[in-house]
């Protein structure tokens, strides 16, 4: 079995070399074909999806699956239209390939360009959402990468028809190589994918915390993503109370089950009484369970409104209507707390003091740092990246929300006219000009 997967991965490598030199027009035509095919074969897709849903419903009744999975699994209604719209949105993005990132003359007639190219072969392992298959396939196609997809067992029928439709639609486009997209279906495939160091360049896991952590710790292939999102909002001494309450409530409650929702509120001692007096009722109105340190509970009146937070709360991602609250002595304590407990995903300060804000933004070591804005903004669409591959807490390659650019790397292209290094060494060496050039490769 794993030999078959290796063959498919090697097929993906060959396809990636063709895709890497495909034109933007070819890749866009293939995306158009996918959008059309999805619309045309809507009924088939929804019928397959219905099978998955019915099987899952039976398992939920037997207590073998959690109910929220059913919502993620369902491709019908607005989800279907949004999926097709997403294909158009990916197509509309600026071509991420062939972009000249820098150009410099090394010597007369010797010009160096750094030009964006695809990474190569991407392995994507995702849990129950079948729309993720379409999204990732389209992002890989637009960015010229071949892709091996492994979906969740619960979405097997949906994934199979979607992969077939995408494969058939793109096979009809001249210049799109066979094998650029492969769906792997058996459970053993995950392990086989994670072992393919030489054939897969990047793994993108899409799913919950434990799932992503499992992937990250079981492969030598680079993994792009984040395991958890323990995000903080810090209310500084000089915060505007209106803004502070609005941002705290939005960060916590606008959508609780996502990685950029806030889990911990830190409050400067000087503003704690005034802030909590307004923030606690606002949070209670949204039915948020509150867990506080001693000072928070004391200010709240110690009447059971705020449960005692334990040490574990500071490192817990609730993904629920629960918020931990801690009163801190000063900005430095807030920064130290965040740099200790944050998952380095997204952290915000609310402050009217520009210097304090700058210190926070510089010192907090997270992918997104925000001043007077909700943590919920940390998202590829809101950041203007168009399509989003995911959000990365890596410290290499891509950090924060990742768009198409995150699936590219670059090559150096040097255009000479018979130049040799020997001429720049020895007794009467030429010297490098290292003059910046204002031109793009290909237009030269």
């Amino acid at each position: 079995m794993s030999e078959l997967i290796r063959q498919r991965a090697q097929g993906a490598r060959q396809a990636s070399q063709v895709l890497a030199i495909s034109t933007e027009a070819t890749r866009n035509a293939a995306l158009d074909a996918i959008a059309t095919a999805l619309e045309t074969r809507r009924d088939e897709i929804l019928a397959a999806n219905q099978k998955d849903i019915e099987a899952a419903e039976a398992m939920v009744e037997e207590g073998k699956l959690d109910a929220p999975l059913l919502k993620r699994l369902n491709l019908g209604g607005a989800k279907f239209a949004a999926t097709v719209e997403m294909v158009h949105s990916v197509r509309a993005q600026l071509d991420p390939l062939g972009q000249t990132q820098s150009a410099i003359e090394l010597d007369s007639g010797l010009d160096l360009y750094r030009v964006s190219v695809p990474i190569g072969v991407i392995g994507v392992i995702f849990e129950s959402r079948p729309d993720a298959l379409v999204q990732i396939a389209c992002i890989c196609l637009k960015s010229g990468n071949a892709v091996l997809l492994k979906g969740g067992r619960e979405a097997a029928a949906s994934n199979r028809i979607l992969a077939q439709i995408i494969d058939a639609a793109t096979a009809a486009i001249d210049g799109i190589p066979p094998g650029w997209l492969t769906l792997l279906e058996t459970r053993e495939d995950v392990g086989a994918i994670l072992d393919l160091d030489h054939d897969i360049d990047l793994i993108i896991p899409r799913g919950g915390n434990e799932f992503v952590q499992y992937i990250m710790s079981h492969t030598n292939i680079p993994v792009m993503g984040h395991a958890d999102g323990i995000c903080h909002v810090y209310i500084d001494a000089t915060a505007d109370l209106d803004k502070a309450v609005r941002i705290a409530v939005d960060s916590k409650t606008q959508y609780v089950s996502v990685c950029n929702a806030a889990e911990t509120l830190l409050v400067h001692q000087d503003i704690a009484a005034a802030f909590l007096d307004r923030a606690l009722p606002a949070l209670e109105k949204e039915k948020v369970e509150l867990r506080g340190d001693g000072r928070t509970r004391s200010l709240a009146g110690n009447n059971g409104r705020v449960i005692a937070a334990t040490q574990e709360d500071w490192s817990t991602e609730y993904l629920d209507y629960i918020l931990s609250i801690k009163v801190v002595d000063n900005l430095e304590e807030a920064i130290a707390h965040i740099n200790t407990y944050s998952s380095h995903h997204t952290d915000a300060i609310v402050s009217e003091d520009t210097n304090a804000a700058q210190q926070f933004l510089r010192s907090v070591d997270s992918a997104s740092v925000l001043h007077n804005a909700s943590t919920r903004f940390a998202d590829g669409f809101r950041y203007g990246l168009g399509a989003e591959v995911g959000i990365s807490t890596n410290r290499l390659h891509s950090r924060g929300p990742v768009g198409l650019e995150g699936l590219t790397i670059y090559k150096y292209i040097l255009q000479g006219d018979g130049h040799t290094v020997a001429d720049f060494e020895g007794d009467t060496p030429k010297t490098y000009t290292h003059r910046p050039l204002d031109k793009a490769w290909r237009s030269s």
Copy 2:
């Protein structure tokens, strides 16, 4: 022992958070202090280096070490001056930190910046060259990264004095945190470093092929570098013979023991007779051993000038005065050969046909692709990057020669005025402006 190393790595993490927000002036002052201290304490350094050299000489005599190591070990003469000059050169580079890479307005008063920051903690494992310690320490310092260094046993005395001098010189600079540089000395330390997934963000190995391959296959930490450099020069049908011979000779012989030297020459069948007629004598003059396929040997006269190449030759990095030669039917065969056997480091085409050159540059999947220029140009200094961390054949983060920018990543900084995501959703949602901004963070 490994617990001690973990503590030092955690100390490095703390130091990295201070270094990350240090000013350019502070980091430059520290680099000045290093250059001055190296000059001042030259005699001590060379005395320690002499000890290493004498011990190594004894081992070479006993056959326990290879003689070329002695040259790499020696810090005296021009090497010392070049090392100090390198410190000045790193200092002179543009600050890699705090650069605004993009700026976009999301809404009125809500501005998003992408700003360069250090990676964090770098682990560097290097073989015998002690000047590598100085170079890497300075590059890490300039780019705001803390560093754990592990040098070769042969250079132990040299490394110890160099690390002490750098540590003492920078400790005197206000704003440089203690623990930003740590030298690890025992043999067991390598394994301990490779295990520190959570404390080290990036490993840079500096040494030979087997050494780098060992590092790459024994750690879950991202590794930046290249194991080998099997570089090709392809002589196309329309090549100018003068340029072709010069580039072939320079690529092979200008410095044979480095990763960007050519190992294989591919020659289009239509030009093979004319090219080999001129190239073989030129290569023989440089005492290059020639290994060819059947057609090459036949054209060479089959008189023993060209040894028969075996399959193994196409995937061998000689790092010596040896060159394999193959006659190919056409450009496509050359590209396919290179994409199969190249280490994706550096490959060149010599051609007067612009279309053929463009096809080669686009299709050859290597970090550097060159047209009518020697493979020996693929180097950070020649590419105008100033200081060079190394050359990467990775397909993520950095590819090809890596300068200071390769030791940075970015964070997103969002500056708002009380903005919440709820305002952009619901019944009468605001829409994102996503308007590019022409300003840098901090100057705003």
